[in-house]
Amino acid sequence: MGLISGGAFAVATLVKVLVFFTLMMLLVMLVTIVERKVAGFIQDRSGPNRVGPWGILQVIADGIKNIIKEETMPEQAIKPFFLLAPALAIIPATILFAVIPFASPMPTQWGLVEVIVADASIGFLYILAIASLGVYGVAMGGWASGSKYSLLGGLRGSAQMISYEVALALSLVPLVLLTGDVRAPEIVSMQQGFAAGPPTYAMWFVLPLLVGSFLFFISGLAETNRLPFDLPEAEAELITGYHTEYSAMKFSMFMIGEFAHVITTAALVVVFFLGGWDIPFWSGDNIRILSDGTVIGEPTWWKSLLTLGMFALKTGVVVVVFVWIRWTLPRFRYDQLMDIGWKFMLEAVTVYILVIAATILAIEATGLRIGVAYASILFVVNIVLAVLLFGVMDRGTLIRGAAKGRRYDVRHARNEGGSDAG
């Protein structure tokens, strides 16, 4: 069965756009309830549980509330931009979904349909380009509100997102070194094992690129403005930062944008490092479409459903980790944020690219083909790097307190505190 083409392709793409957009909005609603539930559980509360079973209808109640609430328009706001900003926040986060493969290709009577909205040849370069646009919503919302808090939030947001974009993009370079392709479906295939066709690694990239996935995850956290990187919002300092002046549905759109961004980032982590829709320890779902249209493996509709479920499960786990981190770690100080971005992440990722590239060169020099052994060597290198990173570097150097350069004896300082109280 060949790939779908012609008019059927256009129809299939349209259907996919509609389905995945709807799915996205439903998922956003789901993530808001997951966020609040997990937040509750972490704080020994039960979270929202009044509306519907387990409070699942709380999102509907919130939606209705946000729609019928009064829309406020600050006097100082610059109207066109004030209205445009929520849209600019929500659009990039939503269209990022286009290049994520959700499941194995699905056979239909018109041909094989890839479960991805747009299998663009530029692959994740598109993601990096569009993700950068997210900063406009934040910066514009902050500036157009005509409020000091909003402006500060917007400025922080733009500075932060631009800083971490560098690390985000660079942390994907080792991935390209391994796969030789930027298309997401190809990246997923490279993590699966095949009996025929070009060689693959048959190992989730989280192992051969352990440190890289960590760096990508951290940059992703910063890109989505989630704690511990939620400086643009910073409730304690800036009310809620860039969306202080927004109310009702406009505020809601910022929130939808943020949650959509969280889902997308989680999905990207899954695609790049956790095998995408691959079901572990089972080779039946491994289906690969080569660039010339040859299909390796046997696509069936139930495999598509199973892999979709697997993808949803993995993404869900990553989203919960996002939430878990949010309710654990306190916000960084602004200088710490910039230090981590420019003095740690950038250096770490650059050195990492060099080390991985050198390792790949060395492996290629021994004549070893792409495969499990290849990836295992990289895994060992990554373990060494991780030990160096967390064991040696992370000794008061990664994130410093306010006491840079000043040294007091802790016990002495405590005694001082005691005498003060007396």
């Binding site: 997990v38 509750g40 559980f41 972490i42 704080q43 020994d44 509360r45 039960s46 549980n49 878990w324 981190i325 309710w327 654990t328 770690l329 967390f390 992370d394 000794r395 008061g396 150097t397 990664l398 994130i399 410093r400 307190g401 306010a402 006491a403 000043r406 040294r407 007091y408 802790v410 300082a413 001082e416 505190g417 003060d420």
Partner: protein, 165 residues
Amino acid sequence: MPGEVRVVARPESEGSYVRAAAKGMGITLKHMLNPRKKTQQYPDEKWELSPRLRGTHRMAVHEDGRAKCVACGLCPTVCPVNCIKLVPAEDENGERYAAIYEIDEFRCIFCGYCQEVCPVEAIHLGVHYENAEYTRERWVYDLERLCEQDHPVTALWDPSDPASQ
């Protein structure tokens, strides 16, 4: 030393962010998986209230439904925030009664002096706190409404019986 920030530099072994973060994640995970929640499901489960809780008022009534109040005027006198409005009257038998008796529960500070000072044990504070209303006017309780209240009355503190038993 007001205005001076004490800066404590910890030894480098204590300065690990990743390890501290991992420890914190462990703690939150423990709480996340803990099925015992501290939440009280409020309208379904309620607090056990102390018998001495001073809540909204209640007027004691005779068996025939008349308020016990004899309009002596002690409670509006003792009330520190002047929230009691009392207009006395006399019936054909020459007995005093309250023609108008209103308590502004918004103004009331629930000190309980009115209950303490009442010579006929007519006005009481009650063990009751759920009083949501849609208008402010509804918070001024008139005599009829005070008589209708059926929540338990507040137990006064008795020095010889500190536990109020």
